[in-house]
Symmetry: C2
Subunit: 388 residues, 2 copies
């Protein structure tokens, strides 16, 4: 019998939705490149349901209890008296999400003597101290690709919205006005602009692919180069350094994981090397950029806009400056938690648990840490050590 | 000596911008398909400046006055005592914009004895009674293609924003909250959805092309069929009737001109034939949809969202229901008036005036009515008679 501790975000303010906006989700079998969507033996939900909140429980309770395991679900994750902190001491498995991260620090890992498996219901395991996980022989797994396309869509949406000045223009009509000049004096077409992606993994490449028919000039910086035929197909220019790339771009979008080499990459110095009036979109992790340097650049005009879906910490305090800085297009870490994505990462979490409890290997694509080292997808995407 | 009457939108509330968000515009020479951007003999502005407002004057004053003509610029366009109504009586040329339309009714045309040319600084001449223009031997011209790509970008932005629930999610963080579940309980991926375009002219085809890499199923309805190789390249399904198309679509985007055959096309009956929980994006003209049927469908859940850039009348009254209806993503007719588009339609307006005053033919692509009949682009896009 194992204890599974699952940290999820809170339910809707108005309660669990009685009815959803839509009746069905499109059926997706494969991701680009051929990897199949999750293949658990079964699921206990209808795709399209809200699964990622506390009441949703990723619909794991029936499966776990039927197999004699215990499930504890909470959203109370911060501070020494939190349910997470209390329940962690004898948990065998922790499930958390980037949207509402239960930070698995080295200290917490050292106290969780039974802990064997940490699952990210989504993508991105930077809320886990991977070095501590390596040192303590934990397995860390995430549902690779489950929401990559979701995030890539969110990114294109944010690029268009910043450049075209959507959000302020919407505010104008909602508040009863019609001053077109106010809206358009900061509105541009993306056509012809130079757009660069920091990293071209699953998400970055999907963003580049979606932007191609907008007749923009595409760029990327990555330590791993895309296959030559993909570079040619997308007409994308590779840059050896991020400095070289941002200097020629009008829009920069960030798609690398957070690890010691990427932390604080967009500091005052790098932002200062961008073209004046550039835009940054960050759907990766907040700590890849310097919080206050972004605010200062927006205020000075060095940046024309910043849209992001990621914050630190999460949730951010009410007075976090990104809530009120000018020319922002922020969302509360939702890009990878659309109902479409939830169906996939809930199924993937179930698949990982089935493998774990039945002693079958977890898909290599899902592994970040195993056997005391970076493994599987983690070996490509992360570095050892801990981002501070 | 001619009198040119130019109706433009008002200046920014805080005055003409001292500095713009960006220093330069990408240089675009051709539109897709090869048509060149406008080729006036010269222009008196820097691309990127605010040209479409009253103080911007499309930067026509120097050119016109140097050639002995008179330019009257106003935003006062409605009612019998408006500057537009007063100055129209002896105007030779009227310039107006879809964003801030000076409605050239049959009655007004009959009073404007000197009127020879009506120019739309932009695209879409439905604010002109084309039948009256035909009957009175006016020339009606617009700057075809000048902002088609702009509008196509706006459309893709609105589709993504509605489906992913962007605007309400942005409101959550801006107001200090972090309830992810509230945001995502109406957030979906567009991947795998069926998206249909009403008409596949310049804008509709550009939208379809931009959506293709999102791995959606594309559809269109048009009286003119796309070339077979374009249909194949986009993988787009043609429908004989709009009813047949909307019945299979999750998202419907409208890109036909307003004329008697398209007016009120999306009434309660047609919206009722859509899938429950569909989305409509309308960057074409407001009167193609029934105002109150849209509101009712959003309230009942038949529509999951409606985003649009077009209203009737323009400006709409403060209590226009589209300002406050649920699940809306409206903007105040700005999609075709980005600074990028303004540079092109200001240059195109200049080109048309140069042709007119120098007795050279206006590009066929720009003509809507000439010589007592629909002409040029107008012959493809409009029908005779008047949309009420």
């Amino acid at each position: 019998m194992a204890k599974v501790l699952c940290v999820l975000y809170d339910d809707p303010v108005d309660g669990y939705p009685d009815s959803y906006a839509r009746h069905e989700l499109p059926r997706i079998d494969h991701y680009p490149g051929g990897q199949t969507v999750p293949t658990p033996e079964s699921i206990d939900f209808e795709p399209g349901q809200l699964l990622g909140s506390v009441s949703g429980e990723l619909r794991l309770r029936e499966y776990l209890e039927r197999n004699g395991h215990e499930l504890v679900v909470t959203s109370d994750k911060d501070g020494p008296d939190s349910v997470f902190e209390r329940e962690l001491v004898d948990a065998d498995v922790v499930i958390s999400q980037p949207f509402w991260p239960a930070y698995l620090t080295a200290e917490r890992i050292s106290k969780a003597k039974n802990l064997k498996l940490a699952i990210t219901a989504g993508i991105g395991s930077d809320h886990v101290d991977l070095q501590a996980a390596i040192d303590n022989d934990l397995t860390v797994a995430e549902v690779t690709y489950s929401n990559s396309i979701s995030v890539s869509e969110h990114t294109v949406m944010m690029i268009l919205s910043l450049v075209r000045n959507y959000l302020p223009s919407h505010d104008v009509v909602r508040s009863g006005g019609w001053n077109i000049a106010d809206c358009v004096s900061r509105s541009y077409d993306v056509e012809g602009m130079h757009v660069g992606s920091v990293a071209a993994g699953r998400i970055g490449a999907a963003v580049l692919r979606r932007l191609k028919p907008f007749d923009v000039h595409l760029h990327y910086f990555d330590r791993v180069r895309l296959p030559e035929e993909v570079e040619r197909e997308l007409g994308v220019t590779w840059h050896l350094t991020v400095e070289e790339m941002v200097a020629v771009c009008d829009v920069v979008t960030i798609h690398c994981p957070l690890h010691p080499e990427t932390e604080n990459m967009f500091d005052e110095a790098l932002i200062g090397k961008m073209k004046r009036g550039s835009y940054i979109v960050n759907t990766a992790r907040a700590k890849i950029v310097d919080r206050d340097a972004v605010v200062a650049a927006l205020e000075s005009g060095q940046l024309a806009g910043y849209a992001g879906d990621v914050w630190f910490p999460q949730p951010p305090p009410e007075d976090h400056p990104w809530r009120t800085m000018p020319h922002e297009g922020m969302t509360p870490h939702i890009s990878g938690s659309s109902l479409s994505a939830q169906a996939r990462y809930a199924a993937g979490t179930r698949e990982i648990l089935e493998c774990f409890f039945e002693g079958r290997p977890i898909r290599d694509d899902y592994l970040i840490v195993q056997g005391g080292d970076l493994a599987g997808a983690g070996a490509h995407s992360y570095s050892r050590g801990k981002a501070e």
